[in-house]
C-alpha cells in the first residue's frame, strides 16, 4: 500500500521533471512551477481588476477588488514572504474591503446598478494614463536594480520582524502611512461641499 503511493508520487515527480525538461529550451532558466503559479496569479489579478472597473453593480465591483487582493497576496507568497501575504489579506480584505462595503450599504444602492453611467472618453484616457504611470516610472528602476536588492532573512521571530521594520525597511514602512493619509484626504475632499453646486 505504502509502496504504491510512493511509486505514484515518484512517477508524478518524474512526469513533471520531464515536462520541465521539454519546456526548458522555450523558457531558459525558469522554474516551471513558479512560472505557472505566476501566470495563475496574473490572471486572477487581471480578472478581478477588470471586474472591479467594469461591473455596473458596486458590490460586484467590490468583489472584483477582493479577488484582486487575493491575487496580490498570492504574488507575495510566490515571492516567499508569507507574512506580507497574510498582512495583505488581513488589512485589505479584512478591513479596507469591509469598510468599503459598509460605505456602499449606507448609501442607496440597488442591485441592478441604476446610478452607473458610462464614463466620458476623456476620463477613460486619463484612467489608462494613470494605470500606465507606475510600470513606466518604476518598471525600469526595478528591472535595472533587481540584482541590488539584498536577500532577506525569513521572518521567524517577532524580534527579527520588528528589527526589519524599524531599520532596513523604515522608509517603505513610513511611506505606507502616507498612502493612508492620501486616502483620508481623498475622502474628506469628496465629502466637502463643492462651491458652485457641483452635480457629482
Amino acid at each position: 500500500m505504502n509502496n504504491t503511493i510512493s511509486q505514484f508520487f515518484q512517477s508524478a515527480g518524474h512526469l513533471l521533471a520531464e515536462l520541465e525538461q521539454s519546456l526548458a529550451p522555450v523558457l531558459p532558466g525558469q522554474d516551471l512551477t513558479a512560472l505557472a503559479a505566476f501566470a495563475v496569479y496574473v490572471l486572477i489579478i487581471l480578472g478581478g481588476g477588470l471586474t472591479a472597473v467594469l461591473a455596473r453593480n458596486l458590490v460586484r465591483a467590490m468583489m472584483g477588488l477582493v479577488v484582486t487582493f487575493l491575487g496580490v497576496a498570492g504574488m507575495y507568497l510566490l515571492l516567499a514572504s508569507p507574512f506580507l501575504a497574510f498582512m495583505q489579506l488581513l488589512i485589505y480584505i479584512g478591513a479596507v474591503c469591509v469598510l468599503i462595503f459598509f460605505a456602499i450599504m449606507l448609501t442607496k444602492n440597488t442591485s441592478d446598478g441604476e446610478e452607473t453611467r458610462y464614463p466620458a472618453v476623456c476620463n477613460v484616457l486619463l484612467a489608462v494614463l494613470a494605470a500606465l504611470a507606475p510600470p513606466v516610472l518604476a518598471g525600469p528602476i526595478i528591472y535595472k536594480a533587481a540584482a541590488l536588492i539584498p536577500t532577506r532573512t525569513p521572518v521567524d521571530s517577532t524580534a527579527n520582524l520588528g528589527e526589519g521594520l524599524l531599520s532596513m525597511d523604515l522608509v517603505p514602512f513610513e511611506l505606507i502611512s502616507v498612502i493612508l493619509l492620501a486616502a483620508m484626504a481623498g475622502a474628506v475632499f469628496l465629502a466637502w461641499p463643492h462651491p458652485g453646486g457641483d452635480k457629482s
Binding site: F9, V59, R60, M63, V66, P82, V98, M105, T158
Partner: protein, 324 residues
C-alpha cells in the same frame, strides 16, 4: 520538487481531515447545545431519537441535506450563492497552523496566528455579502450589525493575542505551546490573566454568539444575515459558525491553556478536552445571559476591552524589555 509535492499532499490530507472535523464538530455541538440548553431551562432536551437523543443531530443534518435551496426574487444570484461558499472555504485553511498534538500540526508555518487572523477576515465579508444580496431589510440590518461588531471585537482580540506573541517572541502556535509547561501554573493564563479575560470576552463577540449575537438576533431580525437561506446554504453558514467557534477555542487553548500539554501525559486529548471545555463555556453563557443592546455591546468593546488590551500590551512590553 519532491519536498513541495510532499507539502502539497500534506495540505490536501489535512484539509480532508479538517472537513471531517468540521462536520463531526457540528453534529456534536448541535447535540451539546440542545442538551445543555434543556438542562439549564429544566427540561430534558432531545431524548426521542436514539439513546438519550444522540441521533437527533444526525436526523437534523439529513433534513438540511434534503431541503430545497430557495432563491428569493430580485436577488443578485451570483453574490447570493457566493456568500455561503465564501463562509465555508476559508475555515478549511484556518485549522492548518493549529498544533493538535506534539507532532500533529497540519502545517508548520512561522506566521501561524497571522494566517488565522487573515483568513478569518473573509468570514466577515461573507456575512456582509449574504445580508446585502438577500435584498431583505432584516438581512441588511443583520449584516450592518455584523460588520460593526466584528470590526470592533477584532481589535481587543488581536491586542490580547499580541501580548502573548510579544512574551513568547513567536507567531507560531506550535512554538507558543512548546514554551508552556505541563501544569496549569506553567501555562500562559498564569502570566497573562488579563489577556485571557479580554480574549474570552472578545471571542464571544467575534463568533456572533449570545449574549453578543446581534447580527442574527432571532427575536428582532428573524435570523439576521442568513434569513433568506435554506437547505445547504443555511447548512454551510451553520457549519462555518460552529467551526469558527471550535477554531477560537483551539487558539485559546494553544495560546493560554498549554495546548496539548497537560498533567500526566501530553497528547492530542488535552487539546480537545480544553477546546471543548471552552465550547461548553460559550454554550453555557449563551443560555445564561440575556442579549445585550447594540450600544452596550460597542461600549463594552471601545470603553473597556480596548483600553484594557492596550494597557496589558504596554505592561507586557515593559516587562519583556526589563525582565527578559
Amino acid at each position: 520538487m519532491d519536498l513541495s509535492l510532499a507539502i502539497f499532499v500534506q495540505i490536501i490530507v489535512a484539509v480532508l481531515l479538517i472537513i471531517g472535523l468540521m462536520v463531526g464538530n457540528a453534529v456534536v455541538m448541535v447535540y451539546m447545545e440542545r442538551k445543555v440548553a434543556g438542562f439549564i431551562q429544566r427540561r430534558p432536551g432531545p431524548y426521542e431519537v436514539g439513546p438519550w437523543g444522540t441521533l437527533q443531530a444526525v436526523c437534523d443534518s439529513m433534513k438540511l441535506l434534503a431541503k430545497q435551496v430557495f432563491l428569493p426574487g430580485n436577488v443578485d444570484f451570483i453574490l447570493y450563492y457566493l456568500a455561503p461558499i465564501l463562509a465555508f472555504l476559508p475555515v478549511l485553511l484556518l485549522f492548518l497552523p493549529v498544533p493538535f498534538g506534539p507532532i500533529l500540526t497540519p502545517l508548520h508555518i512561522n506566521e501561524g496566528i497571522v494566517l488565522i487572523l487573515a483568513f478569518a477576515g473573509l468570514g466577515v465579508l461573507s456575512n456582509l455579502l449574504a445580508g446585502w444580496s438577500s435584498n431583505n431589510k432584516y438581512s441588511l440590518l443583520g449584516a450592518g450589525r455584523a460588520v460593526a461588531q466584528t470590526v470592533a471585537y477584532e481589535i481587543p482580540m488581536i491586542l490580547a493575542l499580541l501580548a502573548v506573541v510579544l512574551q513568547s517572541g513567536s507567531m507560531d502556535l506550535a512554538k507558543i505551546v512548546g514554551q508552556q509547561g505541563q501544569y496549569p501554573w506553567q501555562w500562559n493564563i498564569a502570566l497573562q490573566p488579563l489577556a485571557f479575560f479580554i480574549y474570552l470576552v472578545s471571542l464571544v463577540g467575534e463568533t456572533n454568539r449570545a449574549p453578543f449575537d446581534l447580527p442574527e438576533a432571532e427575536s428582532e431580525l428573524t435570523a439576521g444575515f442568513h434569513t433568506e437561506y435554506s437547505g445547504m446554504g443555511f447548512a454551510l453558514f451553520f457549519l462555518s459558525e460552529y467551526a469558527n467557534m471550535l477554531l477560537v477555542s483551539f487558539v485559546c487553548a494553544s495560546f493560554f491553556l498549554g495546548g496539548y500539554k497537560g498533567p500526566f501525559l501530553d497528547g492530542i486529548w488535552w487539546t480537545f478536552i480544553k477546546a471543548y471545555l471552552i465550547m461548553f463555556f460559550i454554550v453555557w453563557i449563551r443560555w445564561t445571559f440575556p442579549r445585550v443592546r447594540f450600544d452596550q455591546l460597542l461600549n463594552i468593546n471601545w470603553k473597556w476591552l480596548l483600553p484594557l488590551g492596550l494597557l496589558n500590551l504596554w505592561l507586557t512590553a515593559v516587562l519583556v524589555k526589563f525582565l527578559v
